[in-house]
Each structure stands twice: as C-alpha cells, then as structure tokens.
C-alpha cells in the first residue's frame, strides 16, 4: 500500500471524499431531494425557504444563488447530486462543462469531439 493519508492532488479535480461528504451534506441532501418534481417545484416557488429548510450554510446558499458549479463543488457538492439541481434549469452536461471550463458550449463540445480523434 502506498501512503494513503497525504492528500493527492489531481489537477482540476476534487475527489468526493469524507471531508467533502461532511462539508457538503446539507447541500447534497437538498439536491438529492430534487429527484421529486414536487420538491423541484417547491424550490422554484421559494428558493430561500427551501434552502433554509435544508440548513445550507452561507457559502452553500451563495453557490446555489449564483448557479456556479465550481463554487458548489467547493462548498461540498457532489457531481451526481448537483446534476439534479442543474436539471431544474434544463441544463445538460455540456452546459455544465462549459461553465466550469470557462468555454462556450460550442467550444466545449468541439473539445469533446477532438479527443475522439
């Protein structure tokens, strides 16, 4: 076994480990609730009240408000649950990829295609 306690750094990547899972629990729990349409509707009716119900901290609340995926990850969000949040706004994975990489959606899609060559 390699030494496993030191954090390994992978560029542009935040493995969702115990530290992230602890930090992001409330945020991810809220996003998990978006599996249900009634909850998605309730969020859209009153976003403040919905976030308060799940006990989001200030960083998480601001990240939700800004719809900023990198900020949501920094606040402990997990990609699989955040995808359900993005689904409320009809965003697909190329929208999310473009936002995180600072590219236009077309440029992001072209990058994907280029990697297949």
């Amino acid at each position: 076994m390699a030494a496993i306690r030191g954090k390994r750094s992978i560029e542009g990547t935040t493995p969702f480990d115990g530290a992230q899972a602890r930090k992001g629990y409330a945020l991810n729990k809220m996003c998990y609730s978006f599996n249900d349409k009634a909850n998605r509707d309730a969020f859209q009716r009153d976003e403040d009240a919905y976030c308060a119900r799940y006990g989001l901290n200030a960083e998480q609340r601001e990240a939700i408000r800004s719809r900023n995926v990198l900020a949501l990850i920094a606040a402990g969000g997990n990609a699989y649950y955040l995808a359900k949040f993005a689904g409320i706004f009809g965003l697909d994975m190329q929208d999310i990829g473009a936002q995180q990489t600072g590219m236009t959606k077309d440029a992001f899609k072209a990058k994907l295609v280029a990697q297949g060559r």
Binding site: T13, D17, N28, K84, G97, G116
Partner: protein, 279 residues
C-alpha cells in the same frame, strides 16, 4: 446447473434515454453509438439468456449519503425506475429473480464479501438504459439481479476488489442449481469527467488499452489505485470497475465477440464490448 453465457459491458449516459425517447438513433451524432448494439442484439437473440446480473453504479436515486453501501445486491421481486430529476422518461419495472439474488448473497457473504441486501431498490439509468439498449421498446425478456458498486463517495472499492467481487459472483452463479442461462452486464465508463475545471476530460488511448487487455488480462487494470484511475480516466471514468466486475464473473475461456468505441456521447467516451464465456 446455471450457465454463464457471456457478458456485455457498456457506457450508460442519461442522454441515451433522451435520444431513444426522441427517436434520434439514426441522427449523425447518435448513429455511431446505437449501431454498435446491432451485433449484440443478434447475439442475444441466439443466446437467449434467462437472467441478467447487472453490475452498475447508482447516481443518487436509490442511495443517498446517509447510508452508502460499498457493494449492494438487489433481492426484490421487481425493480422500479423513478424520476432522476432531469426529465428522461421513467421506464416500467424490471422483473427480479429472488432465488438467484439470495443464492448470490449467501455465497458472497460465505466468501467474505459482506454485501448489503436490498428487498426494495430503485434502479436508475445505469441499470435501465443498458437493458433498453439490448432489448429496445421495453421488451426486456430476462429476470434481473442488480449489483450496485459505490462510485459516489470515496473511498471506492479498488479495481482489484471489484474484479474479485465479479469472480465471486461468477462462482456463485455457477453453483446455482437452476438450469438458467445467465448474462452478465457491466455498465459505466469509459473515460469521462463531469465536474471541476478538468470537466470534459477523455483519455482515448487508456480506454483502448483497457479494452484490448480486458479479455485476456483483466488484472492489468488492477495495478492502478482508484485515484490513479481518476487521474487517467476522469472522476466518472472510474466506473470502469463495473467492467472489471463483469469480466471477473466469466470463469471460462473468454472470447471477444464484438466491440465498439465512440467519442463523444454527451461528455463520455462510450465503449461497448461483448464477451462469450466458453467452458
């Protein structure tokens, strides 16, 4: 006795469900992906499996972080799909095979794989879409046993452990006394990353080497730690452990009968392999 006839490994992107619902299979973007399944369906029509054991990862439909099992085995009479939050159609339930589920569970725990058992289990796109790709039009003729491997919350089980899990499942199936023809599915991968500044990462050369070695030398991938695999294949590319588990369940001589590889489907390098398992 039960017989394992082979395995299918495939990617499982939600957008596939949207494309099928909107009948886009023949559009230029989708055709190279969907056409890959034609030879698999032909093989299935001949091979006539009775049961499919499906290695897949849940994406936050059945399991949340309150309880996150590393390995879980379905033991339900049927498996329901449900709203995953992004508008792909919900598919009708899939039949279970509780006798095989419990046989596998008992055998695994006897062999030190202390799995979680689930008498109720929602199955997400990682389970439903591959079955829909193999038998389109909701005509899945097989009973199913889902085996879910955690890829949501680290630490994840290692590649070596997942290969061994597959081998243990293979041994369990081969000692099941029913005369059933069993197909193994492994769904996930190949390289992709949805999150972070490295979103959109794909590693074609790694994927192709992984596919090249999987039939004869599945141990090759077990030299890599999970974080190695994250670096090499992306945060969601680690789903390739499902392919290792499915490969592990084939205990006979493995023959590669078909493969397809196409980049991209959504943000994913899509892979497909069909292995026959010979005595």
């Amino acid at each position: 006795m039960a017989k394992i006839i082979g395995s299918v490994m495939t990617s499982h992107v939600p957008a596939i469900g949207g494309a099928m619902a909107k009948k886009r299979q023949d559009e230029p973007y989708w055709k190279p992906f969907f056409d890959g399944f034609v030879p698999v369906r032909r093989w299935l029509a001949e091979a006539k499996p009775d049961v499919a054991v499906v290695f897949y990862n849940d994406h936050g439909l059945n399991f949340f972080l309150d309880k996150m099992p590393t390995f879980s085995v379905g033991a339900a009479p049927e498996y329901r799909n449900a709203d995953e939050g992004w508008g792909i159609p919900t598919l009708p339930p899939y039949a279970g095979d509780q006798d095989l589920s419990w046989h596998v569970i008992e055998s695994l725990i006897e062999n030190e794989f202390d799995v979680t058992t689930c008498q109720e289990m929602l199955v997400d796109h990682a389970f439903t879409l591959p079955l829909e790709l193999l038998w389109p039009g909701r005509k899945c003729p097989v009973r199913t046993v889902p085996i879910c491997i955690n890829t949501v919350q680290f630490p994840l089980p290692s590649a070596a452990r997942c290969l061994k899990l597959g081998q243990a499942v293979g041994r369990a199936i081969e000692t099941w006394e029913q005369d059933a023809r069993v197909l193994i599915l492994g769904t996930g991968g190949l390289s992709h990353q949805l999150d972070g500044e490295r979103a959109g990462f794909i590693n074609k050369s790694f994927d192709l080497e992984f596919m090249d070695r999987l039939a004869a030398e599945p141990e090759w991938a077990t030299r890599y730690s999970i974080l190695d695999l994250v670096e090499l294949t992306g945060t969601q590319g680690v789903e390739l452990v499902m392919w290792l588990a499915a490969r592990g369940a084939l205990l006979g001589k493995v023959n590669e009968a078909h493969r397809n590889y196409h980049v991209p489907i959504s943000n994913t390098a899509s892979g497909l392999m069909l292995f026959e398992n010979r005595a």
